[in-house]
């Protein structure tokens, strides 16, 4: 049985299907009462981690979310998809606006070390800010190798082979664990978290 622990970052974003509206005072977009859900690329990351666990290559999947109280919904969805534990790093609503990749990477770095994770899995970017930075920054802070825009992931012993989607095609690299991988669209098809699963988690 593998000893590898996977830390998966999940972000709560405005649902992809929502028509975004700018606030009347033009200070941002309307978020009150608007449907939120897990970032689609984060869903793919969770799905990959859970599949690795089902293949017995990963021992434990730990989901993490930074932000206000409502992030717990996102964590519950991750748990319903098969994550073992959820860690909510609570940031009050008033300060959540200033939460960006730099801050989140610091949190993920600290947690990866604290939880002794061997693999940090993230979505390649969030659909609200499209930063595409958290994975890379986290890898730099941890001084771990990174495989970004992953469309295929293969764990073999203490190495992970990552097929990356790059301009003009695919690139295959092999990283020594521990490593950071960010998920691209074609990595997998995430399972739908069904009601009994979500209700059952707490």
């Amino acid at each position: 049985m593998a000893e590898l622990r996977a830390l998966v970052g999940v972000k709560r974003v405005i649902d992809y299907a929502v028509k975004i509206r700018v606030k009347p005072d033009k200070t941002g977009v309307v978020t009150d009462g608007v449907k939120h859900s897990m970032n689609p690329f984060c869903e793919i990351a969770v799905e990959e981690a859970v599949r690795l666990k089902e293949k017995k290559l990963v021992k434990e999947v730990i989901a993490v979310s930074c932000g206000p109280k409502q992030c717990q919904e996102t964590l519950r969805t991750a748990l319903a998809m098969g994550a073992d534990r959820g860690i909510h790093v609570e940031v009050p609503e008033s300060e959540a606006e200033r939460l960006g990749p730099l801050q989140v990477s610091r949190v993920l770095t600290a947690l990866a070390q604290k939880e002794k994770a061997g693999l940090v899995l993230l979505g390649k970017q969030a659909i609200d800010d499209d930063c595409n930075q958290t994975g890379q920054m986290t890898a730099a802070m941890l001084d771990w190798p990174q495989g970004t825009f992953a469309s295929k992931l293969t764990l073999e012993g203490d190495k992970v082979t990552v097929e990356r989607e790059i301009d003009g095609g695919l690139e295959t690299i092999r990283l020594k664990l521990p490593a950071v991988v960010t998920a691209d669209l074609r990595l997998n098809e995430p399972r739908y978290a069904t009601l009994p699963n979500i209700m059952g988690t707490n």
Binding site: A17, Y192, P196
Partner: protein, 90 residues
């Protein structure tokens, strides 16, 4: 919904699950709820357990169709938004 029928629990669970899935229905959750309720009420007097099981199976099939629908919608939207270069080169 059946009274004192052992399949009652299954029917209720199916209804709850479908209701949950209907929240994201493209034509709106209300539209879905109305159609769902009508569909279940239409069959409320069915007593034959075999027929009930067939209807439950049909309901579970609808759930799988909805899962596929939601996934494809999301996948297509993400592909359109983030993989434009792929389409251009084809």
């Amino acid at each position: 919904m059946k009274m004192a029928n052992p399949l009652r629990g299954e029917v209720l669970t199916l209804y709850k699950n479908l209701l949950y899935f209907g929240r994201e229905y493209p034509k709106g959750a209300d539209y879905f709820k109305r159609r769902l309720k009508a569909a279940f009420l239409k069959n409320k007097d069915v007593k034959d357990p075999e027929k009930i099981r067939q209807l439950i199976a049909r309901g579970e099939f609808v759930i799988k169709e909805l899962e596929a629908l939601y996934f494809l919608r999301k996948y297509r939207a993400m592909k359109q938004r983030y993989h434009l270069e792929d389409d251009k080169t084809k």
